[in-house]
């Protein structure tokens, strides 16, 4: 090969050990951010919200080991989250009586172990098939476990669930884990360990073969790998991490309920992972944070918050199938070439009519809800503190106009933003 062609080759992977900072820098930054967050968001509500986010980050990332990394669509992932939580709760309650010196921060291991064991058992069945058949089997497993929760009332505690007291454990370093802030740091540490471990797995031969199975399972067999084994291992390992998330959730809420391993919860984790973006390792982290925040915030504002979630999900699937992380990744080349300022105004231009359209749509939803469900309250209601009568035609007309005009302007602005984006991207390539 001549020297001339070699000149054009982008620097090949060297395989050399990276510097300490390059390898661990991002994790050190993450640890500092996690440690500092409660000082910035110090209210009780913020801290408990962040606790929930931490467990959900582990859960969503573990789900993406299946969906994003291996191309397996599971409808029953909450089974491992739930079983991990229940076994953790039972283990803690068992230890209380015996005064065994097991500190609280070790109990998520029980959750992980449970998730792994059930991942192996249920994975041995479900991963025999791929694609649609696999998805159907996981749905069956989710139903099976949900219904056994109603039969095995003693173990799952029926409707009330199983309660536990995290402060009953032996106290190490004077940590009682009574205050929520101590639980926050417990979750933060486990979250960091789990995220780092899941990231490390993506950088192994197994992790890369998972990606190959996602892209083209048939071809993988001809390079020597058994795709069923790959699916099985991915399934079991994702069960392990989901179980850790479940164990932390049990410690956080001090109660486990069978609803937490139902089909609804399995759906929620799909939503989170997908909205965040399945094609990017950080996607599910973003999804877990955003969706948990919206859940808590929206459920305060409206009774039909799940409807908004459905709409958000459909919107993302249709217009941003790579999720929030995908949208952010699109901006990266612009930021690198310092061209982002050329598109930013167009984003704002698209955002404003978008918000108008959403306002119109949510008015329609809220008025319908007022008239159809909250009949006892009568037609008098308020939207954004503006009182009006849902029976009169005026608010309906306003809502429809807001929605129609907002949507029309949004689509136009979105096209302009798209053009501006391609232009800014092309600018980079000019000399």
């Amino acid at each position: 090969m001549s020297q001339k062609t070699d000149m054009k080759i982008p620097a090949l992977p060297s395989g050399a050990r990276e510097s300490f900072l390059a390898r661990f820098g991002i994790w050190i930054v993450a640890a500092i951010v996690l440690a500092g967050l409660p000082y910035v968001f110090s209210s009780g509500l913020s801290v408990s919200t962040m606790c929930m986010m931490g467990t959900m980050i582990i859960f969503a990332l573990s789900y993406n080991m299946l969906l994003g990394q291996t191309g397996l669509l599971s409808f029953g992932h909450a089974v491992f989250f739930g079983l991990g939580g229940f076994l953790t709760a039972w283990a803690m309650n068992a230890v209380v009586g015996t005064a065994s010196p097991v500190p609280l921060f070790l109990f998520p291991i029980m959750g992980g172990f449970t998730g792994l064991v059930f991942g192996i058992i249920l994975g041995a069945v479900s991963t025999k098939r791929s694609g649609t058949a696999f998805a159907m089997i996981t749905l069956g497993i989710a139903e099976l476990v949900s219904s056994s929760a109603l039969i095995l009332r003693h173990f799952f505690g029926g409707e009330e669930g199983i309660t536990l007291d995290r402060t009953d454990m032996v106290q190490v370093f004077g940590l009682s884990f009574g205050p929520q802030i101590q639980v926050y740091y417990l979750i933060a540490v486990w979250c960091l360990i789990s995220v780092a471990a899941m990231y490390a797995i993506t950088c192994t031969p197994f992790g890369r073969i998972c990606n190959a199975v996602r892209d083209n399972p048939e071809r993988v067999r001809f390079i020597g790998y058994n795709t069923q084994t790959v699916r099985f291992m991915a399934f079991s390992l994702s069960g392990l991490f989901a179980g850790i998330g479940g164990g932390l959730a049990a410690i956080n809420f001090e109660i486990m309920n069978s609803a937490q391993m139902g089909v609804g919860e399995s759906g929620a984790v799909i939503l989170m992972t997908y909205i965040g973006g399945i094609g990017n390792f950080a996607g599910p982290i973003i999804g877990a944070v955003v969706v948990t925040y919206l859940q808590l915030m929206l459920s305060d504002v409206t009774d039909v918050w799940q409807l908004y979630f459905g709409l958000l999900f459909i919107g993302m699937v249709m217009y941003a199938p790579r999720g929030l992380a995908g949208l952010l990744a699109l901006q990266q080349p612009l930021l690198q070439t310092r061209q982002f300022h050329r598109v930013a105004p167009y984003y704002v231009l698209a955002l404003l009519p978008g918000l108008v359209a959403i306002t119109g749509l949510s008015m329609v939803i809220e008025m319908t809800y007022q008239l159809a469900v909250k009949t006892a309250a009568g037609p008098a209601m308020a939207f954004f503190y503006v009182p009006f009568n849902a029976n009169s035609p005026l608010p309906w007309i306003i809502a429809v106009i807001l929605f129609a005009v907002g949507t029309w302007l949004f689509l136009r602005a979105a096209r302009l933003a798209g053009d501006a984006y391609s232009e800014a991207l092309a600018w980079r390539k000019l000399p």
Binding site: M1, T5, K8, I9, P10, L12, P13, G15, R17, A200, I201, C203, T204, P205, F206, G207, R208, I209, N211, A212, R214, D215, N216, E218, R219, V220, R221, F222, I223, G224, Y225, N226, T229, V230, M233, L237
Partner: protein, 255 residues
């Protein structure tokens, strides 16, 4: 044959059959391919050439007969077990990992043979032998400049070259190439012939090809497959001269 040859053929097909329902696609094929030979399979469309490859590589289960690789019976084994025994193949329709980079495509194909298997505790970037082998192959198939592009965005001829790269990455001793030149321009075909000549050194090659120029140029021996049967298996010169081959297959092109 007067030339000395290995008594155990690299590949031995005995009475190989395949039926789909009442349709008999492969009707009892007996064929020995000595180690190190470049062997081409030609035949009209629908003769069963690709089906034959699927039977040998484990993609389909034979309905009858046997396949032996270096004397070992591999009949009906799943593809991964056959691949681990050193038989590797490419596909007629490009069959890659489209979202993975060119580098990842080839590296994934090297991993099993290097013994990394399902390891989920070692950093893949730090496997020096996998890295060297990947680089070696990318230079060999002339795709080193494209190493960090997703395979899905490569040009067609480049994807065909990568297809060969995946097939040779495991250092397989027996190579099955299914129409490697399909859909290529004249210049690209010449390139590919050189590549195949290079990668089939010290390997046993079994190749399906429609381009007669390529076949007569590359192959040590040629088998003619018509309606699921091998009607002739001989050197290129004798195949050219064979009357029944001309009638059954070449006739349409020569006339």
């Amino acid at each position: 044959m007067t030339q000395p040859k290995n008594p155990v053929p690299a590949l031995r097909l005995s009475g190989l059959e395949k039926s789909f329902g009442p349709m008999k696609i492969i009707r009892g094929i007996d064929l020995d391919i000595p180690a190190g030979e470049r062997h081409a399979v030609i035949g009209p469309n629908g003769a069963g050439k690709s089906t034959l490859f699927h039977l040998i590589s484990g993609h389909y289960q034979p309905s009858g007969g046997s396949v032996r690789l270096h004397g070992d019976d591999i009949t009906g084994m799943p593809p991964q077990l056959i691949a681990r025994r050193g038989l590797s193949r490419s596909f007629q329709v490009t069959n890659l990992f489209p979202q993975l980079t060119v580098w990842e495509n080839v590296r994934c194909a090297t991993l099993w043979a290097l013994g990394y298997k399902y390891s989920f505790w070692r950093n893949v970037e730090r496997l020096a032998d996998a890295r060297q082998r990947t680089e070696e192959i990318l230079r060999e198939i002339n795709l080193i400049e494209r190493w960090n592009m997703p395979a899905g965005v490569l040009a067609y001829a480049e994807q065909r070259a990568l297809e060969i790269g995946l097939a040779i990455a495991s250092n397989a001793n027996t190579l099955l190439l299914d129409e490697p030149m399909a859909g290529m321009s004249h210049g690209e075909t010449e390139h590919m012939v050189e590549l195949i000549r290079k990668v089939s050194e010290n390997r046993t090659l079994l190749m399906i090809e429609h381009d007669m120029g390529v076949v007569f140029d590359l192959a040590d021996r040629i088998s003619v497959l018509v309606y699921g049967e091998v009607i002739a298996s001989d050197t290129p010169e004798r195949i050219k001269a064979n009357a029944s081959v001309q009638q059954a297959y070449l006739g349409t092109e020569v006339a």
